[in-house]
């Protein structure tokens, strides 16, 4: 990572101007990513950011690395396929709460289970920003900001950390867009972690949820050592307010796929296959 010597966070910006609203929390995540990249000396050519669709999912174009801006909800699938095919790359999947927990919920669960060695950043603003402010799975039950759900969604919010844990994610952290330095530190750690690392970021949508500026007063640091017992973590994730930030849970387990045996020559394998048919 010789590149690192010279690299500053701004060197990781692509120069494309974000379409985000001024004050959007996603700017912080972008800044945190370039900071973490600079801190780790991430090789631009060997890094891929993969996303779905949403305001948050626009991020890859703003970073000077390889990127894949896919379809809504499927970023994690793309990222896993890429990493399994190209284990040499650093792969970061990212997207919004709608992208990741609503339409993409199934891939989220199964990615946690599968434990491919990638990092997933969910930029959670409890709303569908891109489509102009409908409730997302993480919206408060009584949030009446959308005409689609005029009395609020009325449904228990999705608990990302609890779901990740129950699904088997071995590394779970939470950041807040008001504290990009913390996000950058967590992200650096996430990338270093061998396995699926889930970084849940509370990233405010200033346009459709202006009340989220209050988050500043609510977030707190998780000051303990990360939990490693699933039962303790579950008790925490099912009871907390969802505003504790920091590395919350860490319990490494075998990544998938397991290390492969050295590849054989494809021609040889094809010849063997043919010989079975010729038998």
């Amino acid at each position: 990572m010789n590149e690192s010597l010279a690299m500053k966070p701004r060197d990781y910006k692509s120069g494309i101007k974000p379409i985000w609203c001024p004050g959007c929390g996603h700017f912080s995540v972008l800044n945190a990513i370039t900071k973490a990249a600079a801190a780790c000396g991430l090789a631009k050519d060997d890094t891929v950011l993969v996303s779905g669709i949403g305001c948050s999912s626009r991020l890859p174009a703003y970073v000077d690395s390889y990127g894949f801006h896919g379809v809504h909800g499927r970023g994690l699938a793309v990222a896993q396929g890429l990493k399994v095919a190209r284990p040499d790359l650093t792969v970061i999947a990212l997207g919004g709460d709608g992208d990741g927990f609503s339409i993409g919920g199934n891939h989220f669960m199964h990615a946690c289970r599968r434990n491919v060695n990638i990092t997933y950043i969910a930029m959670d603003n409890e709303v569908y920003g891109m489509t102009k402010g409908q409730a997302s799975p993480t919206s408060p039950e009584d949030w009446e900001g959308s005409k689609l759900t005029p009395h609020g969604p009325g449904v228990r919010p999705f608990k990302p950390a609890a779901m990740a844990l129950a699904s088997g994610a071995p590394w779970i952290a939470r950041g807040y867009s008001g504290n990009p330095n913390q996000i950058a530190r967590l992200l650096a750690e996430a990338m270093a972690f061998p396995g699926f690392s889930f970084l849940h970021v509370l990233s405010q949508c200033i346009t459709f949820c202006p009340q989220q500026t209050d988050w500043k007063a609510i977030v707190s640091d998780f000051e303990e050592e990360p939990l490693s017992r699933a039962d303790e973590a579950a008790a925490l994730f099912l009871s907390e307010d969802g505003f504790k930030t920091g590395l919350l849970y860490r319990e490494p387990r075998a990544i998938w796929p397991p290390e492969a045996a050295p590849a054989e020559d494809a021609k040889l394998v094809l010849r063997d296959l043919a010989s079975v048919f010729q038998r």
Binding site: S14, I16, K44, D45, D46, T47, V48, L49, V50, R58, P60, A61, D64, S65, Y66, G67, F68, H69, G70, V71, G73, R74, A77, V78, A79, Q80, G81, L82, K83, V84, A85, R86, D88, L89, N106, H107, M109, H110, P257, A260, A261, P262, A263, E264, A266, V269, L270, D272, L273, A274, F277, Q278, R279
Partner: protein
Amino acid sequence: MLQDEFSLAITGSGGAGVMSVGELLLQAWAEEGGRGLLRKAFGPQIRGGEAAALLKLTSHQRYTASSTHNLLLAFDWENFSRFGDEIRLQPDSIVLCENPADMPDSLQVLQPQIISLPFKELAKNAHPEGRLNMLALGVLGALLGIPVATLKSLATHKLADKVEDYRDAAEACIDAGVCAAPDLAPALPAAKAEKGWYISGNQAAAYGALVGGVRFVAAYPITPASDVLEYLAAPLERMGGALVQAEDELAAINMALGAAYGGVPAFTATSGPGLALMSESIGLAVASETPVTILDVMRGGPSTGIPTKSEQSDLNIALYGLHGDAPHLVLAPLSISDCVFTCAWAVQLAQRLQTAAIVLSDQFLGQSTAIIDPPRELPVIESSSRGSRGDHYLRYAITDDGVSAQSIPGDHDQRFTADGLEHNERGTPSAGALDHQQQLDKRARKLTALDPGDDWGETHGRGSVALICFGSAAAAVTTAYDPLTAAGIDCRVIALRLLAPLPLEQLMEALDGCTRIIVIEQNHGAQLLHYLRGYLEFSGSFHSVATPGPVPLSPATIVTAVSEVLDDE
């Protein structure tokens, strides 16, 4: 006496080992340098129920299902009867059975040549562990003139992981069967000189995908495509590739796109319902110009339909199932053997054109086993144009042939973000009219500029009535050519392997001199007919022979239908 084809059916209960007899007989026939086909038929039960091995020994490779059988070996009549009229005989057929008295009336009236054999007793006498099916193998092997040593060696090989007693029993039963075989010499087809490959269409497709360069597969199981995946897992692993069983088809296609974006040729296999689920992301492959090959082993539709039977009714969705203007490749193998070439070719075209290729196989091709000539070698086409990039890399550069240089992660300083949003040449999202028009033009041009060479399809004859078909129907239509010609119908056969882009130039040339087109296909809506009518400039008349599954297309029905169409005029 030689004849072209000899069909035999073996029926029994699911547990009776009927399929093993079929497989071993066909393998033995292959050892003799023969050609032939094995279809398997089951009842609706998941397991158990009735089973039939439907074999056809041939002197050619135009494999079609048999409408009638020259020989029937029925372990019992109850299970035979459950097939309704799926298994037919003809008046000179041979029937081997235990109790001729119980033979159903539908067979009695044909007055076949009945040979009664006490299967159970013979097997029991041969060995205490003796099984009916090995006895049947002996009987049938002898009738077909296969050396007993061949039968035994194949059977013991198949039973390699069983206890020795089991193998002894098999050998004893085979011997007993050979002894008990009636003294008949049915007219059989001649054997070819070269020993063929014993392979199913799904195996051939898997093999072809690997030959084409596939090193990553992600898929979700579905009948009748799952066995493609089962064949792929082990060789991929040996090659240093990977197979991921995804949580659903949405994940499968997107995992494939991820791998392909990473430069690893990627593939998935599915059937109609899965293809439908994948369609959004196949559109992403088209827009982001990420190569991927999707094999659709078609089954009866619509919806869950008839999962275990064949139909060619996914042509529409394959051609037109993506939202927006999303030009992509659609191909269809013309035979079991051609599954190798067509899959390999599809993978290479997808890689070269950086787009999605959908390959339309079907349950008949995929799950029938056949003896095929060793497949032709595939010239490996260089995949797309990496390396020709300038300093200011434009991933989606406008080019004459619509193909742009494609970098992959790891390539130095050629970074870009692949995007399904409309974009400019660099890949930056753009809603501009010019960018949209240029990228749409470029993506369409990739296909229109493609010269498919001679592999776009196959033709047969030069008559004035063109019988056009695609994929799996090719064998039945080609087989119908001779009887049609004999009946004075001046026809030719055009079988399409490449369906999109439609090879218009080649097709018009192949149609030269034709006054009528009859489109023959195995679906209800005449999907190919309407597709061709929508694109072909043809001054003659169009006619349709469209019959849905589940009964396989038969040359005889085609002969009748074509004659009727022409009489109607």
